[in-house]
Every structure is written in structure tokens, then in C-alpha cells.
């Protein structure tokens, strides 16, 4: 029982991070109908932004502190939002009316470009670096279960961001425009919506969430390196597909499911070595039996 609860706590925290990343995939997919492979690298850039901001912020707001952590997260999110906009502008916008496959391959190229540029000695270098403690951490004991304050922060941050995102998408003008573009780009543009602006905004929002997810991920992981985004990125993508790609609540639920399953598998002897394959096994099963995902609606192709 203790084992079960402990794994659930770990799984929820990990799943929350996946959920945040998955939201970025799902938003971009909803609006542009392609998989932004570079999303996972934005996550890594977010973690590095926090890494380099920490010594800058420290003299002003001593770290570790919650205020300092919030400031760093906000700044990193802003940096990554700008990077997201720039990537879309340079690499994806010129391809807007091309076949989706072209855009997909470009996205793979962008992802490789970011990864290998960052691995270069003149940028970050390939070595793993220790991530500084941004906020005070403590472990709470509930019976035999250990809950770290970091896990609580991760879950609470995710819930807050989810609500913020839900509010933006459902209750603001720009969110309405996003939904309109996602529903039908041409019709939306006929109604006077500036499609390019909405797409930029979508990338900014998704990248900001990825940056925060990257920082949260780095807080749990021992260190950061330029390829750190790949594994969580792929799992988050699976989460997005699992929940029904293009569907925001679906992405959140998918993230939690993947996080929980992976943690349980990781804690089970005999299965733990295969945890890297689990996300994919789930993905393949879900695509076979319910290709539209848990919350997605099946679409009929029009001729």
C-alpha cells in the first residue's frame, strides 16, 4: 500500500510535468496541424535559461526563495516565448501552405539544430551541469510516504497554469480567436482574424509552458544537458496523442496517465528496464484502438 501511494505521488508529479509539455504540442497541433518536434528543445532552453538567470537574480533576490523562483520562471518563460515566436517566424511560417510532411521534416531539422548547437563547446557544451536549487525544499513524511515540497510545487504550478490556460483559451478574445483558427483557418481569416498573430501567440504560450515545465523537470532531475528535452518531450507527445491531440484537457489527462504508468513500471522489478519503451507501447496501443485519443473525436475524411 505504501509502495502504491509513494509511486502515485511520484507519478503525479512527473505526470504534471508531462501534462505541461503536452499542452504545447497539442496547442500547436490544434492550430497548425503539425508536430512541433522542437518543442522538447524549448523545454531544455527553459531549464538553461533558469540556470543562467539564477546567479543574476541571486544578488537581487537571494535564492533559494519562492519569490526568486517565480521571477526566474517568469523570465525564462518570456525568453522561451520569444524563441518560440522566432522559430515559427523563420522556419515554419514560410512553409504555411506546404504539405504537412515538409513542415514535419523541417521541425525535425529545427530540433536537431537546437540540440547540436547547444551541445557545442561555445554554447552550453555537452556536459551535464548541476541545476541550482531555486526554491527551499523539504521532505514531508506521511506515515511511510515521503512527499517532497518540490513535488507539491510541481503539481500546484501545473494546476494553476492549467487554469490560466483554460481561462485564456475560453474566456479571452485572443483565446476565442485561437479556437476559431484551430476550427477553420480560412473562415477565421475571413472573419478578420490575423492568423499569423494568433499562430505566434500560440507558439509563445506553448513555449512559455515548456520553459516552466523544463525548470520543474530540472528541479527533480540531478542535472541539465542539451539533450535533456528528448525523453520528457517524447513522453509528453505521447500524452498529447493519448488524450486526443488538439484537446487541452486531454493533454493534461494523458500526461498524468503516462507519468503514473511510467513511475509504476519503473518501480516494478523486471519492468524497470523497459520503462523507456512503455510510453511507446501505450502510444501504439492507443493509436490502434482509439486513434483519436481518449477525449478526441474521430473525424471522417472528406473527399
Amino acid at each position: 500500500m505504501d509502495w502504491f501511494l509513494q509511486q502515485s505521488v511520484n507519478g503525479l508529479a512527473l505526470g504534471s510535468i508531462y501534462a505541461l509539455i503536452a499542452l504545447g504540442y497539442t496547442m500547436v497541433y490544434g492550430v497548425l496541424r503539425f508536430i512541433n518536434f522542437a518543442h522538447a528543445d524549448i523545454l531544455m532552453l527553459g531549464a538553461y535559461a533558469a540556470f543562467f538567470l539564477a546567479p543574476v537574480v541571486h544578488p537581487i533576490i537571494p535564492l533559494p526563495s519562492f519569490t526568486g523562483a517565480i521571477v526566474i520562471m517568469a523570465l525564462s518563460a518570456a525568453i522561451c516565448a520569444i524563441i518560440g515566436i522566432v522559430i515559427e517566424l523563420l522556419a515554419y511560417r514560410p512553409l504555411r501552405n506546404r504539405p504537412r510532411l515538409t513542415v514535419l521534416i523541417t521541425a525535425i531539422g529545427v530540433s536537431l539544430f537546437i540540440e547540436f548547437t547547444c551541445q557545442h563547446e561555445a554554447v552550453f557544451g555537452a556536459a551535464t551541469r548541476a541545476f541550482p536549487p531555486l526554491m527551499p525544499a523539504a521532505d514531508f513524511k506521511l506515515g511511510n510516504i515521503i512527499i517532497s515540497s518540490n513535488d507539491i510545487v510541481v503539481v500546484v504550478t501545473t494546476i494553476l497554469l492549467l487554469f490560466a490556460l483554460w481561462f485564456i483559451v475560453q474566456r479571452t478574445r485572443i483565446g476565442t480567436a485561437m479556437r476559431a483558427v484551430s476550427f477553420n483557418q480560412q473562415a477565421a481569416s475571413l472573419m478578420g482574424i490575423n492568423i499569423s498573430r494568433i499562430i505566434s501567440f500560440t507558439f509563445a504560450l506553448g513555449s512559455a509552458l515548456a520553459a516552466i515545465a523544463g525548470i520543474l523537470y530540472a528541479m527533480r532531475a540531478p542535472g541539465i544537458e542539451p539533450l535533456m528535452g528528448m525523453q520528457p518531450g517524447i513522453r509528453a507527445f505521447v500524452a498529447a496523442v493519448l488524450g486526443g491531440i488538439g484537446n487541452l484537457p486531454g493533454a493534461a489527462i494523458g500526461g498524468l496517465i503516462i507519468g503514473l504508468l511510467e513511475t509504476f513500471a519503473g518501480g516494478t522489478p523486471g519492468l524497470s528496464n523497459y520503462r523507456d519503451g512503455i510510453a511507446f507501447a501505450i502510444l501504439i496501443l492507443i493509436l490502434l484502438f482509439k486513434p483519436a485519443g481518449i477525449l478526441g473525436k474521430a473525424t471522417v475524411e472528406k473527399v
Binding site: T106, E121, D276
Partner: protein, 311 residues
């Protein structure tokens, strides 16, 4: 490429293969090694071209099939070679390659039948996932060396073997595409719905292309295993699959000659960029992006007409 063209390729490559292997002692081993790398890349790229280029299915898991074929062939050789006299070894090599190809084809069938009902980027993701699952499995299989890799594979792959197989691969795939049956691949690529209303069963064609592609990827894996004499799970990761996809895209999807040139170019490129090895992958990534922005029809496609890339 028409059928006659395919036949010419077959003869040319077999002639080159036999010719060069007669004098292979006089060639620099390093260059011969690179030539074999090129040949393996050609087999991989043309087989993926059948799936991605001709049939229009975006597969991102070709390295997975290569891994299945490579590991199967290598394990077979490692077990059987000590039991047989040396004069039978070429036969063992052929058997190992065929075994690798067949197992890879079987894997292709297992992945293909259920997942080819999916389209476009969903299929890309399933095949990506499949490639990763294969990697995780070999990484955990003690019998093939797990994470530390499979060592001491006998060196059977020669220039001659490689290019005879290159010729056969190109010939078989070109003939397949140019046969009456093979027109179905192109029909499926051009318009699936229209093709199915003409009585073509798209899933069957896609599975055929997928299984055939996987078979040749398995053969390439076997050649690779007996060329490098060492296999590691990391050699068959996502990047390897991307490599092969880039060859197909660079060459121009569905254009055999272009894909062959691209495979050669992209195998030689890292050798030329050796002194810039820090920048190699950056240049590579920029090449992909630049190509997609400026020449999505492929580098070696003369007509500007866009063909084949659908998702």
C-alpha cells in the same frame, strides 16, 4: 525510372561490384570501407523510398528494421560460423542476410498491418515509437550484448557483396514500382480515396510496401553488422532513422536516382566535414531546414513540380 533503366542499374552495379572486388586488395581499405558505407546507405534509402516516396507513407522507424535485420544476422553468424567449415562461410553469410531480412519483414508486417490504417504524422509517430521499442528491447537483451553491444561479428561484408545487393535492391524495387501491381503504390500515394474507389485496397498496398521496405532494411542491417563487426543499440536510434529520411527527401521523394545520389552524398559528407566535426550535425540540421524551405522537391529533382510529399 523505367524498367529498362532498372535493369541497367542492376548490370552496372554488379559489374562495378565484381570489377572492383577483383582488385580490392589494391585499394585503400579506408576508401573501400566508405564505399561499403555508401552501398548500405543506398539500400536503406531506396527501401525507405518505396515506403515514403512511392507510397507516400511517412515512416520514421527505418533504423528499427535495420536493427532487427542486423542483430538477427549477426547473432546467426556468431552461433553458426564456429560450427561450419570455412568454405561454407559465404553460404552462411547469405543465409544470415536472408534471415535478417525476413525477420525485419516480419517486424514490418507486425507494425504495418495494424498501424497503416493511420495516416500522415500518426504513422510517423507509430513508426518512431516502434524504432524506439526495438532499441529498448535490444538494450535489455543479454543474448545480444545488451547495452554494451554485440562484438566479434565475423567480417563477411565486402565491396562485391554490398554492391551486388545494391543492384538487386534497386532492381527489385524499381521493377516492383513499375509493375502493374506497383502502379497501385503510386495510385495510393497520389490519392488514396480515389485509388480505393477504383478498386485498389490502400491498406494492402501500404503493407506490401512497408514489408518490402523492411526486408531490404533488414538486409542492409545484416551487411552493416558484418561490415562494422560490432553492433550497439545506440547505433539504431532516432537519429539514424532521420538520417535515412533525409536521404530520401534530399534525393526527391519517389525518385530512385536522386535518392541514390543523396545516399552517397550524405555518407561522404561527414567524411569531408571530419575536421569540422564539432559543426557537422549543425550543418546537417541547417541543410534539412534550408532544403525544406528552398527545395522541398529534393536537391536532385530537375523539374520544379512537387510530387510525393503528402501527409
Amino acid at each position: 525510372m523505367n524498367h529498362q533503366g532498372a535493369k541497367r542499374w542492376l548490370f552496372i552495379s554488379i559489374a562495378i561490384a565484381v570489377g572492383i572486388s577483383l582488385f580490392s586488395d589494391q585499394f585503400n581499405r579506408y576508401y573501400l570501407g566508405i564505399a561499403i558505407d555508401c552501398g548500405i546507405a543506398i539500400i536503406l534509402a531506396t527501401s525507405l523510398n518505396l515506403v515514403n516516396g512511392h507510397t507516400g507513407q511517412f515512416s520514421l522507424g527505418h533504423a528499427g528494421f535495420m536493427a532487427v535485420g542486423g542483430y538477427a544476422a549477426a547473432k546467426f553468424s556468431l552461433v553458426v560460423v564456429p560450427l561450419t567449415p570455412p568454405e561454407l562461410q559465404p553460404l552462411i553469410f547469405v543465409a544470415a542476410l536472408i534471415l535478417g531480412g525476413l525477420l525485419a519483414a516480419l517486424a514490418g508486417l507486425i507494425v504495418g498491418v495494424p498501424s497503416l490504417r493511420l495516416r500522415g504524422d500518426y504513422l510517423a509517430i507509430v513508426t518512431l515509437g516502434f524504432g524506439e521499442i526495438i532499441r529498448v528491447i535490444v538494450q535489455n537483451m543479454e543474448s545480444v550484448g545488451a547495452a554494451s553491444g554485440l562484438k566479434g561479428i565475423p567480417k563477411f561484408t565486402t565491396f562485391g557483396w554490398t554492391f551486388v545487393l545494391v543492384g538487386i535492391t534497386i532492381y527489385v524495387i524499381a521493377s516492383l514500382v513499375n509493375s502493374t501491381y506497383g502502379r497501385g503504390f503510386i495510385a495510393v500515394n497520389d490519392d488514396e480515396v480515389a485509388a480505393s474507389s477504383m478498386g485498389i485496397n490502400p491498406v494492402r498496398y501500404k503493407v506490401t510496401a512497408f514489408v518490402a521496405g523492411a526486408f531490404f532494411a533488414g538486409i542492409a542491417g545484416g551487411l552493416y553488422a558484418h561490415h562494422k563487426q560490432f553492433l550497439a543499440p545506440t547505433g539504431f536510434d532516432f537519429f539514424k532513422s532521420v538520417d535515412i529520411v533525409v536521404m530520401v527527401v534530399l534525393g526527391g521523394m519517389g525518385r530512385t536516382a536522386g535518392v541514390v545520389l543523396a545516399a552517397i552524398l550524405l555518407t561522404l559528407l561527414p567524411e569531408f566535414l571530419r575536421q569540422f566535426s564539432d559543426y557537422r550535425m549543425i550543418i546537417y540540421a541547417l541543410l534539412i531546414i534550408g532544403l525544406m524551405l528552398l527545395r522541398p522537391q529534393g536537391l536532385f529533382t530537375l523539374s520544379g513540380k512537387k510530387k510525393g510529399a503528402k501527409a
